[in-house]
Amino acid sequence: MGWQKKILRVNLTAGTCTHEPLNMAWAQQYLGSRGLATKYLMEEIDPKVDPLSPDNKLVIATGPLTGTIASTGGRWTAVTKGALTGAIASSNSGGQFGGELKMAGYDLIIFEGRSSQPVYLYIQDDDAQLLSADGLWGRSVWEIEPAIKQRHNDPLIRIASIGQAGEYGCRYACIVNDLHRAAGRSGVGTVMGSKNLKAIAVRGTKGVKLHDPAKFFAAAKIATAALASNKGRKGMTSDGTIAMMDVTGAFGALPTRNNQQVQFEGAHKLNAKAMKSPNENGHTNLIQNGACFSCTIGCGRISHIDPQHFSVKDKPQYQKASGGLEYETAYALGSAVGVDDMDAATYAGFLCNEYGMDPISFGGSLAAAMELYQVGAITKAETGGVDLVWGNAEALCLMAELTGKGEGFGRDIGMGSKRLTEKYGRPELSMAVKGQEFAAYDGRAMQGMGLGYATSNRGACHLRANPYASDFTTTETKDKPEVVRTTQDLIAAIDASGLCLFTAHSGGTPEHYATQLDGACEGGWDVARLNETGERIWNLERQFNLAAGLTAKDDTLPKRILEEPAPSGVAKGLVSQLKVMLPEYYKQRGWSEDGKPTAATLERLGMS
C-alpha cells in the first residue's frame, strides 16, 4: 500500500470524471508521483504533440509517502509536455494540497482534452465533478482561493489553481497551491490554462493505508530524528534557502545581470541577515518560517513588505504576510536583474504567486530583456517607455505586473527568454537550457551544476542534481559526471516517493527513504532498488524527450558559459568544461555517443 491504487481520469472535452484502478505493475517500476505520472504520460500521448493542444495531457500525481507522517511527506507533482520547453515537464510542489489529494483517495489525476468553457474540478473523496468557473476565470490565485472556499462553505478545501498568466498563455505559468506554493517550472500552468481548467479544489478524509505500519512508523521515527539533529536542517529552519546568497556571492557562482557577472555587490541586502534585520523605518521583512504538510524542516519564509515601500504604499491588499524570498527568487528578482531592494523583490515574488508564474523564468526573461536593452536591441519604443536598466526596482515591479496580466511589453517577457531573444535577433542572450532559464548557480564556478543544467530532462534546473559539495570543493571536472548522474537518479526517486528533496540537504539518507518506503509499500524496497528506480525514471524522461524530437544537441549551455571566462571569484578565467564532461556522462549512463539509452541499458532497467 502507500498507494491508494486509484486514478481519477477527467475528460475535459466530454466533461466526465471516472475512476480507474492504478496500474500496480507500473507502480512497482516507477514508484509514484514524478515517475509514475511520466509513465502514464509516455503511454498515453504522442510526445510530438503541441503542448497546448487538447491532445496533450496533464497528470497531477502524489507519491506513496504523500499524506503520511514521513517528514516532508506532502509533495505532489504536475507532469505534462512543457509549454516553455517542448520537453518533459515535471514540477514538484509542497504546501497542503498534495496531502489532501492523497487523503481523498487518489494517486493520480489525469486531465485530457479541453473544456469548451472554463471549469474547475471539485473533489470530495470519491465524488469528483467539473463545475463552471464563471466568476473565477480572469481572476488571480489570491482572489479565487477564498472564493472557492466560500462557494462550498468549507475553509478546509485545499486548492491548486492558475492565475491570469496561465490563462493568457505565459509560457512559464505555474500551478499555485495554498496561495504561495507552486509547481513552478516549465509551463505546467500554461498547459492547465490551455485546457480551460482554472483550479482543482479537494477535500479528503480517507487517510492513507500502509503495508506494514509498525515497520513504517519505526523507520519514519529514525528518519525524522536524523533531520532533527542535523546542523544543515537547523540552518534551513533558521535561515531558509536564502542562506546560499552569501555563499555563492563569496564564491563567484551567483548569476548577476544575466550571467555577465558572477558576484553581486548588493547580495548583502538580499541575504538571510538582511531579511531578519529592521530597515531604516524599523520594519523587518521576515515574519516567521513556514512548513509544508508533514514537514519538520520548515525552510519556507513568510514575509511582510514595509507599508511605506513604494511597491505597496498605495496597495493595502499587499500589506499582508505571504510567501517571501527564497534563494532562487532572491537571485531571479534580485541579482539577475541587478536589483538590491529586498522589498521590491518580495513584492515581485508576491505578484508571481498571485498571477501564477515561475519567478525564476520571469526573472531570467526580464534579465534577458534588460541585456537586450543594454545592447540597444530594444528601446523604450518596445518596452512601452519603461527604462529597463539594471537595478531599476520600479521596472521590476511594473514588469512583474504586466507579465502576470499579459499586458504591454510584459507579453513579450511572458514568452520566456528563448523566444524573446530570438524575436529581437539576439538568441545568445538567453541564459537557458532547452528553453528553460537558469537557476541561481553559474556553470563556470560550479562545473557540476553546469553539467546538471545541460543534461536536465526538463531544461536548466538546480533541483535535478546535487553537485553542491563537489562544486564547492573543486572546479576539477573528473568526478562531476558520476556525481551528477548518481544524484540525478536519487533525486528522481525521492521525487517519486512523495518526499521533499531538501531532506537530502538536511540529514536524510538513501537508507531513510528506502526503509520508509519498505514500511509503506509492498514489494520490498531497499537502497539498491531505490537507486535503480531513479535511474529508470531518468531514462524514461530521456526517452520522452528523444521521442519529442530533442537530441544530444539540446544538452548544451549558452555560449556565454561555454566561451566567456568567469570574470571573478574562485573560477576567474574559467569557462564550462561541458565538452569534456558530457561524453563521460553519456558513457556512465549507458547511452550511445549521441545520447540515446542503449538497448542493453533499457534491458537492464526492465524498459525494453
Partner: protein, 84 residues
C-alpha cells in the same frame, strides 16, 4: 596582527562549545598562525566538509595546516550548503 573572520550560511552552528556565535568578527592572532590553528580554535575541525577562503581564494583542506595567515587577511568559512 588582526584578521577578519566571516562565517557564511549556517557555519555558526559549527562553532565549538564555549565559542560565542558570530557572523563577522576581527581576531587578534600571533604572527605565524596557520589556518589550521584558527580552525582548531574555532572548534569545527571535524565538521567536514566545509570550505575555507583566504582573501577570495579557495584553500584546499590538505594545506590548511601549512597556510600562514597574514595581517589584514579576510578569512571566510563556508558550510556544506546545498539546494535552494
Amino acid at each position: 596582527m588582526q584578521v577578519n573572520v566571516k562565517l557564511l550560511g549556517w557555519m555558526r552552528e559549527f562553532l565549538g562549545d564555549g565559542i560565542a556565535h558570530f557572523d563577522d568578527k576581527d581576531f587578534e592572532l600571533a604572527e605565524g598562525h596557520t589556518l589550521g590553528e584558527l580552525i582548531n580554535t574555532l572548534g569545527f575541525r571535524t565538521e567536514t566538509p566545509f570550505m575555507t577562503m583566504q582573501n577570495g581564494d579557495r584553500v584546499v583542506d590538505s594545506v590548511l595546516d601549512t597556510t600562514v595567515i597574514k595581517d589584514g587577511d579576510k578569512i571566510v568559512f563556508v558550510p556544506p550548503l546545498k539546494g535552494g
